[in-house]
């Protein structure tokens, strides 16, 4: 034992815990060595187990192993990735030489599937296996966004925001609430996996149907993504992976320049119905005077308080210029801003070609008694929007010890430190939105190089986005996170395994930001500096304990069962302080204490994750490798979701498998290696609804329930308001899944097919229903079980591996996903999504897909007065849009709205091609989203008479005129405040696209050359991501995420129903050209 210990110490410098002291078994030792049948080289890390038991070990770097047994009739099962499994009878031999044959088949791969692991060929549920090698070949900041197109049945919505997460949907949408899957990393529940280092991932499985996921119960209704991080193996080695890439913007809005904007203003004035004037006031143009009908660009847009100032005006004397941040509205400030006569390209002003880089250094190794992996990672991505970035420094330490044949202990841990400048995506106040809300006449900088903006007349109310970004660059948003788990596994009584796993997702963040007086803005430039600082922390722990049993009876009956308990809990606190009135705006005074305000404000609050304490049971039975049965059960309670009557739910699933290829009548089909038919049915619960909605509660509210009841001017009394009306009967949402699948492996296992057809019926849908405000007032939405929804679909993945010659290898993989969603009978006639500046676009009704687009259909233009008179419509007139009169009553009312688009794609597909020729390797990945419409809400800002922002070119060149009667947009009219102010079909566009997500070429320098330098392997590669996109969509990027998705929403339940498929100006996915290298030594 001491010897073992010494060896362990010498080889595993990271050992922290060695708890057990001595061996207690005295049995016969069997030594063996496992080698490759062809090359006769050693196979390290092969798994060696006593067949039908939980006792086992691994081969070391030399392929040798030692295992103890007390029975001569034991059989050893040896498995290793890439080889056919082999059974060896011990007999009386003390030492064995075992040769393994390489295999194309992946059927014996062991997959982690919820508290336990299974051979791929024994799986009867629906599980997508992500090819992690392909996944990490595509550099990106987080795992979620890399998943797109990599697993059938998985839909991903992303943005280009550095470090932001993505919305991941497994098999479409099944609930009105959040459709986020459950993430399990090394056994622990994680709130989001966006901070995980993709390079650390060993394997990734997506559990899609109830029979696969049921053991995870309540949280698994939207599917489960199981991530296992890497383990060390074989001889100690060091790998270094690095890349450097440049990201660039691929598309911009096509907006007016300064001259065109003047023409547009003129058009607006001329277009006012009944306009008889011939000279017009065009704001800044013509010096703000009603003097001429052709726009004349002024020399200055601001000089002191004057706008539209012409050259030579004494008001624009540069000597008058002054700027005092403490007196931006008074006499201390006199700004002079020259007009940008050609036009500012605001998108250019805020974007850049942004570098991203990654350095990963990993040390790993392993023996039969333990393995370790230690890695450090530095990832730095700057955004294509200036001054946005995401830096991650992380350390990974994974260690596993086989302390005894019967005892394994280990841990998996990532500690990360994240420093970032984020971006509020899909928001009208962010830099992308401001870039089209700023007029081209406004320069970025004024006469003296200070910021220029909308200060002055008729420049709108946007704020200089470059100024906003640069001012935010010293703000801080940092986070320290710990994701990890520790486990112990004890094998006993030959067939039993006891496993305990404690997982933790911990995060603490710190932020501060300072606002200086934005002197250049039309609005909100006052103030005396404000400062805000806060901290928060939160944790989520999972502790589960399972008892496993596995035995093969009579050589044919392979029985496995698992019993377990689990506890999930977590909570967190937020603290925040803010003040204002700063004497100096210098960085040195960015603290609460430097604010001169006598009463800084502070707040703190606590939140709590839901707790669960389920009991788990699972049974797997295989008869003669031919007939498979799997069943699972979970009893779950939800602490925050439901009241005493409905707190607990019992969930179950069952599935059957039939390996037809094992039947005698199939044995002779030589091209068929394996064929399995699967069928499963399961029932899962979902408690994803507002916390404590079963209770009627009241809250003291300083914001909207307080009142200065004493009549004073400087203080107030806090009052109570009703929060919500509780629904004590709210209960688990129930999802019933039927899944029929086929796995086939043909042509010497070169072609593998996984096909699933499914139907998922969700009953008692949970929904936060708006109570009638006329009776209940503005109360919180009430959780209610409202109806049904059905999701049907097909998932298909096909992989092909050709081994044409020794020099040339070729692999292809295709994933195909299709789902059809239909809202069933629901309690209300409809449910609608969030309101933007205008009414909600999304509406869900019986018989339609969830969150379909709803509004007026544009039925051409009113071409003449007779057409105007023929129908009663608000905002009517010659050249205005005419809406379709659906009920034929010659009157356009709210009853003439209908469904005008579907945000769900017809199907999505991913095609992965990879090839190697000698030392070269190539990879290509194409992603195709067919159909699926997008509401291009950006048009609200750029296409209509909405605020005084910039306009799309089509507004000037394709608005209705008597000479252009088949235009895109209604007639220009300065008095038209109604066009585009309701959801109309004009906003809806085809959102389908085909994108070359990845194209890469790599070269591995011949080993012979490198080994002299002690380098085992050196590969360099060049890669292009998002090289091209074929789409009809006119927005920046058809790949959009749902609103406000990201890791900031630490606790938010991301409800898709509210803004699905609506593009509020999504941060586009950049094109990235990357150079990288992988070194192993």
């Amino acid at each position: 034992m001491k010897k073992i210990l010494r060896r362990v110490r010498s080889q595993l410098p990271l050992i922290l815990l060695m708890l057990l002291t001595q061996s207690i078994l005295a049995q016969k030792s069997i030594n063996g060595r496992v080698i490759d049948k062809g090359s006769k080289s050693a196979i390290p890390n092969a798994s060696v187990a006593l067949k039908g038991t939980s006792t086992g070990t691994q081969t070391n770097a030399n392929g040798t192993f030692t295992i103890k047994t007390n029975k001569a009739d034991d059989v050893l099962t040896i498995t290793s990735v890439g080889y056919d499994a082999i059974d060896v009878s011990l007999g009386s031999k003390d030492s064995l030489l075992i040769e393994m044959a390489p295999s194309n088949s992946t059927l014996n791969e062991i997959l982690v599937t919820g508290y336990t692991a299974q051979r791929k060929k024994d799986i009867t549920g629906s599980v997508s296996v992500v090819n992690t090698k392909e996944l990490v070949a595509n550099p990106g900041s987080n795992v979620e966004s890399l998943l797109q197109g990599r697993a059938s049945g998985v839909t991903v919505g992303t943005s280009g925001v550095p470090g932001a997460g993505a919305s991941v949907r497994i098999r479409g949408f099944t609930t009105f609430n959040a459709n986020e899957p459950l993430y399990i990393v090394d056994g622990a529940r994680i709130s989001a996996i966006s901070d995980l280092n993709p390079n650390d991932i060993e394997s990734m499985q997506v559990l899609k149907d109830a029979s696969a996921a049921a053991v995870y119960g309540a949280a698994a209704a939207n599917g489960v993504i199981i991530v296992t991080t890497k383990k060390g193996k074989g001889q100690s080695k060091v790998t270094y992976d690095a890349y450097y890439g440049v990201q660039s913007l691929t598309k911009k809005y096509d907006l007016l320049n300064t001259e065109e904007y003047g023409k547009y203003l003129l058009g607006l004035q001329k277009g006012i119905p009944g306009q008889t004037g011939t000279s017009f006031n065009l704001g800044q143009y013509n010096g703000g005077k009603t003097s001429t009908s052709s726009p004349v660009i002024p020399e200055y847009i601001l000089a002191g308080t004057a706008s539209g100032v012409q050259a030579g005006d004494p008001l624009a004397d540069p000597n008058l210029y002054k700027l005092d941040l403490n007196d931006v509205n008074g006499n201390g400030t006199y700004l002079i801003v020259p007009a940008n006569k050609t036009g500012t390209d605001w998108m250019d002003a805020i974007t850049q070609n942004a570098p991203m880089m990654n350095h990963s250094l990993t040390v790993s190794g392993g023996t039969g008694t333990g393995n370790y992996l230690f890695g450090i990672n530095y990832f730095n991505q700057e955004g294509i929007i200036k001054y946005t970035d995401y830096k991650r420094y992380s350390v990974r330490a994974n260690t596993n010890f086989t302390v005894k044949n019967f005892l394994k202990i280990g841990e998996n841990l990532q500690v990360n430190y994240i420093d970032r400048h984020g971006f509020t995506n899909q928001d009208e106040g962010n830099a992308i939105s401001m870039a089209y809300r700023m007029q081209p006449i406004v320069p970025v900088f004024d006469l003296k190089g200070n910021y220029a903006g909308t200060r002055g007349s008729n420049l709108g109310n946007a704020s200089n986005p470059f100024a906003n970004l640069q001012r935010g660059s010293d703000n801080v948003d940092r986070k320290v996170g710990i994701i990890g788990s520790v486990y112990a596994e004890i094998a006993f009584l030959k067939y039993f395994t006891l496993k305990t796993v404690l997982g933790m997702d911990y995060g603490t963040s710190h932020y501060y930001n300072f606002g200086v007086p934005a002197y250049e803005n039309a609005e909100g430039r006052g103030g005396t500096g404000n400062f805000n600082e806060g901290e928060s922390f939160g944790y989520l722990t999972t502790w589960y304990n399972t008892l496993g049993f596995q035995k093969i009876f009579a050589d044919k009956h392979d029985v496995k069962f698992l019993l377990g308990t689990e506890m999930v809990q977590g909570s967190g606190r937020d603290m925040d302080a803010s003040t204002n009135n700063y004497f100096s705006f210098d960085r040195n005074f960015w603290q609460i204490n430097s604010g001169l305000n006598t009463t800084p404000s502070g707040s703190s609050y606590e939140f709590r994750y839901r707790k669960y304490s389920p009991v788990i049971a699972k049974l797997d039975y295989v008869y003669n490798d031919k007939y498979l049965l799997s069943a699972s059960f979970r009893r779950d309670g939800s602490s925050n979701g439901f009241g005493p009557n409905n707190k607990y739910g019992n969930f179950y699933s069952g599935s059957l498998g039939w390996r037809i290829s094992e039947e005698y009548f199939m044995k002779d089909i030589s091209w068929l290696n394996d064929l399995k038919l699967r069928a499963g049915y399961g029932y899962l619960g979902n408690d994803n609804i507002i916390d404590f909605g079963f209770l009627t509660t009241f809250e003291f509210d300083r914001g909207n329930a307080s009142y200065p009841i004493d009549g004073g001017n400087t203080g107030f009394s806090a009052g109570l308001r009703h929060n919500g009306v509780g629904n004590p009967n709210v209960k688990w949402e129930e999802a019933y899944t039927t899944n029929i699948g086929l796995d086939a492996s043909i042509l010497d296992s070169r072609i593998n097919i996984v096909l699933d057809v499914y139907r998922r019926l969700t009953k008692d849908l949970l929904y936060e229903r708006q109570l009638d405000p006329t009776i209940f007032g503005n109360v919180d939405r009430q959780p209610t079980n409202i109806g049904e929804m059905t999701n049907r679909g097909v998932d298909l993945s096909v992989s092909y591996r050709a081994d044409i010659s020794g020099d040339f290898r070729f692999d292809a993989g295709l994933t195909f996903s299709l789902y059809r969603n239909e809202v069933g009978v629901i309690a209300d006639p409809f449910f609608e999504g969030n309101r933007s500046r205008i009414d909600p676009f999304n509406r869900s009704v019986t018989g339609q897909p969830i969150s379909s687009f709803y509004g007026y259909i544009i039925d051409g233009f009113f071409q003449n007065q007779a057409e105007v008179d023929a129908i009663e419509q608000s905002n009517e007139g010659i050249g205005k849009w005419r809406y379709k009169d659906l009920n034929g009553d010659k009157k356009i009312t709210v009853d003439d709205r209908t469904f005008m688009g579907n945000p769900h794609p017809n199907f999505t597909a991913g095609l992965n091609l990879s090839a190697t020729y000698k030392n070269f390797d190539f990879a290509a990945f194409l992603y195709w989203k067919n159909g699926g419409e997008i509401v291009n809400y950006v048009r609200y800002w750029t296409d209509f008479n909405t605020f005084q922002g910039n306009r799309d070119k089509r507004v000037l060149y394709d608005s209705w005129t008597p000479d252009n009667r088949n235009a895109k947009l209604p007639v220009l009219d300065a008095s038209d405040g109604a066009s585009g102010q309701v959801p109309v079909s004009y906003f809806v566009e085809n959102g389908g696209y085909l994108r070359m997500k990845n194209l890469a070429i790599g070269y591995t320098i011949p080993t012979a050359t490198m080994s002299r330098f002690g380098i085992e392997r050196l590969r360099i590669y060049l890669q292009a991501q998002n090289l091209f996109t074929i789409t009809d969509y006119t927005g920046l990027d058809p790949e959009i995420t749902t609103q406000q998705v990201g890791r900031d929403d630490y606790r938010a339940r991301r409800s898709d129903a509210n803004s699905l498929g609506v593009d509020f100006g999504n941060f586009p996915t950049p094109r990235i050209i990357t150079f990288g290298l992988n070194v192993t030594f």
């Binding site: 308080t305 006052g526 722990t541 304490s613 509210d701 006329t774 300065a974």
Partner: protein, 597 residues
């Protein structure tokens, strides 16, 4: 029970520890048993027991109170304060201006006193209202509806809890006082809804289904009658409503139904005996402008006002509903809405006798700086006789604007060509009050109280009632009280380049019509921009003719008004929000849309 990390580790340690202890004993057989069976069995058993403990899943929400926790005296009063918290219309639904108690963004711009202002593209929903093209989908009405019915729901919370016998220590007087205030507020919210939409449902503390085809005036009256009968004349805290506020509101409710006799009776009582909540006898303040200075809040003229507090970072209860309606330039920065109309400015012209010119005022425009920039020379017309209240109601170039110095004209207006040359004034803060009686964040949030009913309003309404069913001479006296206060030089803008000439009506009115014209015109002048004008016009039945006449001239100045036209028997009331109708239908109630929408 809570399971902490420490807890878990202690179990693991215990497990291993026991393992070692057993080994030390060299009890081979027992040891074997323990390792292979007993220990895991114990561990599993322990875990199952812990996991199944029901209390583990009993969680309570943080920071929220279950109903049982507020079923007491303190909770009852806190709920009442929470109901007062709704009157300002802010922070409930939508933006402050949409729920504003003075309805400036809807009824305000629909009247002849103000334009939307700012520029063409800002808040097009408001332009819709200004052009009498309001749509049922206009979100302003939706949010206003929600605000009012939230106020009603909170009033009902108080009424239900106040009648709950489980509340200990609630004296009969306390109960009457609290229920009186709650029913006053419930009446207030219903009243505001009634004048906005006419056909609105009444929601009591027991309503579960509703319709809007029954006239709810009797129910509103009942609430104010209850308040009048049960409220004390004085309150410990000044901002609580009292008996006399209820009387004045009830009289106003009568006036809206032309029940002049009932109104007159009440007004006589109020004028004879009425006091504010702090016990001060009702009267007019000595200077007109003091009504619009936060330092003089809660005075003898306060009948019912929205109490506001804002000082530095304490701004949650500041007056923000008018925050958009500040000049666009100067310290205010935003947002240039609610600009006074030329018609309103002209209305303040007087004859050489110091009396208003109700028929001829709009024949010519009072001189303004329209078309001029700050730097262009401009001199005010200081010969035309003017009512001094003009320069507290309207900011115009050259006239001192509170203590900010003379209004500079062009640079304080967002788009002069669009919204005219004038700025609103009454609710704008003074320089001296910056950061002390305003928020130090967004300073357009002020400590100025907003009047729902002030005593001048009571006097003028009572004069109307007198004209109809009482004495025209009494009416003249009451109108002259208001005019004389304005006549006092204390009510003038010091240093204004203007010729103020104002006098009381010297002789008896020639006829009932003349008297009506006088009192109606007086209301316009005295209460400009205080949330009355549109509803007064509708109440008098002269909205269509007055506003269409107004448009004839304004159209020539404001091109966007060219397509505007007031439709009689439609535009007197606003559309009931379509979403509200849909939600009502979903819940088994019925709301019928107003005629014409």
């Amino acid at each position: 029970m809570e399971i902490s990390l420490l807890h878990v580790l202690s179990h693991l340690v215990l497990m291993l520890h026991s393992n070692q202890l057993l080994k030390k004993n060299h009890m081979k057989r027992f040891k074997k048993l323990s390792l292979y069976g007993l220990l895991p069995a114990v561990l599993i058993g322990m875990l199952i027991i812990q996991a199944c403990k029901k209390s583990f899943l009993d969680a309570k929400p943080y920071g929220q109170y279950e109903a049982s926790l507020v079923t007491n005296k303190k909770g009852l009063d806190a709920l009442l304060i929470g109901t007062y918290g709704v009157i300002d219309g802010q922070g409930i639904s939508g933006d402050g201006w949409e729920g504003s108690a003075v309805n400036w963004a809807t009824a305000g711009v629909a009247a002849d006193d103000a334009y939307k202002g700012t520029d063409a593209n800002d808040q097009p929903q408001m332009t819709e209202v200004e052009q009498y093209k309001s749509q049922p989908t206009n979100r302003y009405f939706y949010n206003k509806w929600i605000v009012l019915y939230e106020g009603i729901a909170r009033s009902n919370d108080v009424i239900r809890l106040g009648n709950n016998p489980d509340i200990e220590g609630l004296s009969a007087d306390d109960k009457k006082n609290i229920l009186g205030q709650a029913r006053f507020l419930r009446g207030h919210f219903h009243f505001d809804a009634k004048r906005m939409w006419k056909n609105v449902p009444y929601i009591s503390d027991t309503t579960t289904k509703y319709g809007n085809t029954t006239d709810i005036w009797p129910l509103i009256e009942a609430d104010f009658k209850f308040a009048y009968d049960n409220l004390p004349a004085t309150q410990l805290e000044k901002a609580r409503v009292n008996k006399w506020a209820a009387a004045a509101y009830l009289a106003k409710v009568y006036m809206f139904q032309n029940k002049f006799t009932e109104a007159k009776t009440l007004y006589d009582l109020i004028i004879a005996n009425g006091t504010s909540s702090s016990g001060t006898k009702y009267g007019l303040q000595d200077a007109y402008w003091k009504n619009f200075d936060a330092q003089f809040d809660n005075n003898e003229e306060t009948v019912f006002a929205i109490s506001s507090a804002a000082s530095g970072t304490v701004d949650q209860t500041g007056e923000a509903s008018l925050g958009l309606a500040f000049p666009y330039g100067g310290d205010f920065g935003c947002c240039g809405f609610f600009q006074p109309s030329q018609n309103l400015v002209n209305a303040f012209k007087t004859g050489a006798d110091g009396l208003p010119l109700p028929t001829t005022f709009n024949n010519s425009d009072l001189k303004s700086d329209q078309g001029l920039k700050d730097a262009d020379p401009y001199t005010n017309d200081n010969t035309t006789p003017l009512d001094p209240r003009l320069d507290w109601s309207v900011g115009r170039r050259g006239v001192p604007f509170w203590d900010w110095g003379p209004h500079p004209g062009y640079s304080w207006v967002r788009d002069q060509n669009y919204g005219g040359p004038f700025s609103p004034k009454k609710h704008i803060y003074s320089k001296k009050d910056m950061n002390t009686l305003t928020s130090s964040g967004w300073r357009n949030v002020t400590a100025k109280d907003v009047y729902i009913i002030r005593y001048a309003d009571v006097l003028l309404m009572s004069a109307e009632a007198e004209i109809e069913v009482g004495s025209m001479e009494v009416a003249r006296t009451r109108i002259n009280l208001v005019r004389n206060r304005a006549k006092s030089p204390a009510s003038w803008v010091t240093g204004a380049p203007a010729n103020y000439v104002i006098n009381p009506y010297p002789v008896a009115f020639a006829s009932k019509d003349a008297a009506r014209t006088a009192v109606r015109f007086e209301r316009r002048l005295e209460l400009a921009h205080e949330g009355h004008r549109f509803f007064d016009l509708v109440r008098w039945g002269i909205a269509a003719e007055t506003l269409n006449t107004y448009l004839e001239k304004e159209k020539l100045k404001r091109t966007y008004k060219q397509t505007a036209s007031f439709t009689k028997n439609k535009n007197e009331y606003f559309p009931i929000p379509s979403t509200i109708i849909e939600i009502a239908a979903k819940n088994g109630s019925t709301l019928v849309q107003n005629p014409g929408y």
